[in-house]
């Protein structure tokens, strides 16, 4: 996908700004930095970024925020020096949006609403670009961020070293990357993370309401029940769930993220926006409502977490349901489901956690839970 080269000369401010500090003598058209200084309280300029520990920090890599397939090929086929040379050559050509782009745009929409209702609060989404790209690519990435009018003020370009240390330094609540290895590393460190892939088909998603969908087992909950199912089959699974109905499931890697989403949702409810809340959460599970689903619901309730919608599919394929929901992101531990979602054009992310990674789903059987 090639775009016309864009001369990114002026900063595109999403909000109209008056510049108190003089830029009168500054005839430089490009990188007019006097406009970009963060102001403190009452300002009509770009808002100040929150402190990492107060915000819900979402770290995204450059390969999921933007489409960089062409450049990846150059890297794989011709090596790093050629790759960097290519990037610099195409510096003024912004990248096209990648799989995480709609998600990030939706986060910004939520932020605008939060800022309206709570102008002094730092409980916002903070998006940080964490990439192991070299700083050579930095100018092209910044150009692209400006071109798409994204509000990303923070980044780490680690020049090839592991980004994991930086994820911790940023108090990251969710890490999205194209690299499964890094995602696994993050999960091991206790950071919610998922791998995203670019699919050819993309259904339209809302620009005003952030929709996040979660699988149950091995995503929100531990993979305890998955293990039983994989080891002993469906009947044993049902038996186990019945016997343990009142025992809470252990938490999974994305429970924390659901929690912080819930906290932000409550801020909207507090100001009377329950019905038109710009954040909506969904549980999309192969469990069935009448039986195994009960344990899931009881666990969520005990954790004090509310989901807006819980969809118990009892083994039916998830794709059509996701097509209806149109989430900005759907987390599942099984590649089979992620691929199924992608086929329908839904944005799905793989959480490489739990037993499913060792025993991938065999496509022929579609057992109900």
């Amino acid at each position: 996908m090639s775009l016309d080269p864009v001369q990114v000369m002026k900063v595109q401010d999403p909000m109209p700004s008056t510049c108190p500090s003089a830029s009168n003598g500054d005839s430089q058209a490009s990188w007019d930095d006097s406009k970009d200084i963060h102001e403190n309280e009452d300002s009509t300029k770009k808002p100040k970024s929150p402190k990492p520990e107060n915000a819900v920090t979402i770290a995204v890599s450059s390969r999921v925020l933007f489409r960089t397939e062409k450049e990846q090929k150059v890297f794989e086929q011709k090596g790093i020096e050629e790759y960097l040379r290519y990037q610099v050559e195409h510096e003024n050509e912004p990248f096209a949006p990648g799989p995480a782009f709609p998600f990030v745009k939706a986060l910004e929409a939520v932020n605008s609403r939060l800022r309206e209702l709570y102008p002094d609060s730092e409980e916002l989404f903070d998006i940080v670009l964490v990439t192991y790209n070299h700083a050579h690519v930095g100018i092209r990435l910044i150009n692209t961020i400006n071109y798409h009018n994204l509000f990303i003020e923070r980044f780490c370009m680690t020049g090839g070293s592991s980004p994991i240390g930086y994820l911790k330094a940023w108090h990251t609540n969710l890490y999205l990357s194209a690299d499964a290895e890094k995602v696994r590393e993050a999960l091991v460190e206790g950071i919610a993370a998922a791998t995203m892939f670019m699919s050819e088909k993309q259904i339209e998603v809302s620009e005003t309401q952030l929709r996040v969908a979660f699988d149950g087992d091995a995503v929100l909950f531990s993979d305890e029940s998955e293990r039983i199912f994989k080891a002993h089959g469906l009947d044993k699974f049902f038996e186990h769930e019945r016997e343990n109905e009142n025992r809470l499931l252990d938490h999974g890697p994305l429970k924390g993220f659901l929690e912080v989403l819930g906290k932000l949702q409550k801020k909207f409810y507090a100001k009377g926006h329950r019905l038109d809340c710009p954040i909506r959460t969904y549980l999309v599970t192969a469990r069935s409502a009448a039986s195994s689903g009960i344990r899931a619901l009881k666990t969520l309730r005990a954790w004090g977490l509310e989901m807006d919608e819980a969809l118990f599919l009892a083994g039916a394929p998830k794709g059509p349901m996701l097509e209806k929901i149109r989430p900005h992101i759907y987390f599942d531990d099984q590649m089979f489901h992620v691929e199924g979602a992608a086929e329908m054009g839904a944005i799905a992310a793989h959480v490489p956690y739990g037993i499913a990674q060792k025993y991938p789903h065999i496509k022929s059987t579609n057992a109900g839970k």
Binding site: V11, S21, A22, G25, D26, Q28, W31, D32, D33, S34, D36, I37, H38, E39, N40, K46, K48, S49, K51, P52, I80, E81, L84, H134, A135, H136, G138, I139, I142, N143, I145, N146, I152, E153, R154, F155, C156, M157, T158, G159, G160, S161, G165, Y166, K168, A169, W170
Partner: protein, 276 residues
Amino acid sequence: MEDEKNCTGPLMIALQYNDLFDLDSISASTNTDDALPKGRAVTFVKAVQIVNERLVEQKETESLLFEVILIAKECSEEIKMKIVESVKYYGLEIGKFFFCKKEELINTLQSNKVKLFLSTDRDDVCEALHTGIPAAFLYDQCDDHVLSQLKVIISGDVIGFTEDSLDSLSDFGFSETQIETFKAAKICMKEFAVLIGQMRRKFGRENSPLCICVLTAWGSTNVCASALKTLREWGLDVDEAFCLAGAPCSPILAVVKPHILWDAGLHNIRDLSTHS
């Protein structure tokens, strides 16, 4: 680039002996025959030596090497001996020793055309900058740091902001004196950046013993982009870049683990003024 022809001679870095050796940990019970205990700068000097080794490996007659000189103020004859011995003991390659009086520090730096004065003392760094001597902060390395690279951080704020815009940093609680220090640093940085850029280009992207980073603590991504472009014009290709937009520096610095922090004190001050 333009300055290619000017790259004669060594890149001289000056250190003070109290950064090289940890004098505070000498107690009454310390054996006076032992070498002085190691200070922060020892890992730095070792890292510098590795860069030099790699440069010479590539070209035996390489002239653009690091040279470290040691300055010691107000020393007794005894300590002077100790210093020279300890340097030898740790295998540190120190080019020259200067024993001088306190007031002579700046003169010594100037007359030796020092390209970089490194110190853990913020006041020394600021004073040097105000007299036009390139000076940077020697960052505290943990002892167990794996010495595979010499890491230099250059401030994206100092390079990326124009002179006029630097004044607006007062919005973040910086005093006029502090802002003057940033402006002084901006002028001094160029020569060092050009030289270190030439050195960096002698190595490839991967396996380089030298790593250059840009850290923009306050400025926006556009300020950072401006810094990257300016450094590129000066011939310095940056490896890693960080843009913090006001977030605390320390957690990030703890991961980057630089040796040299060229930011005229921006990182210290910021952790205080986040309470604005």
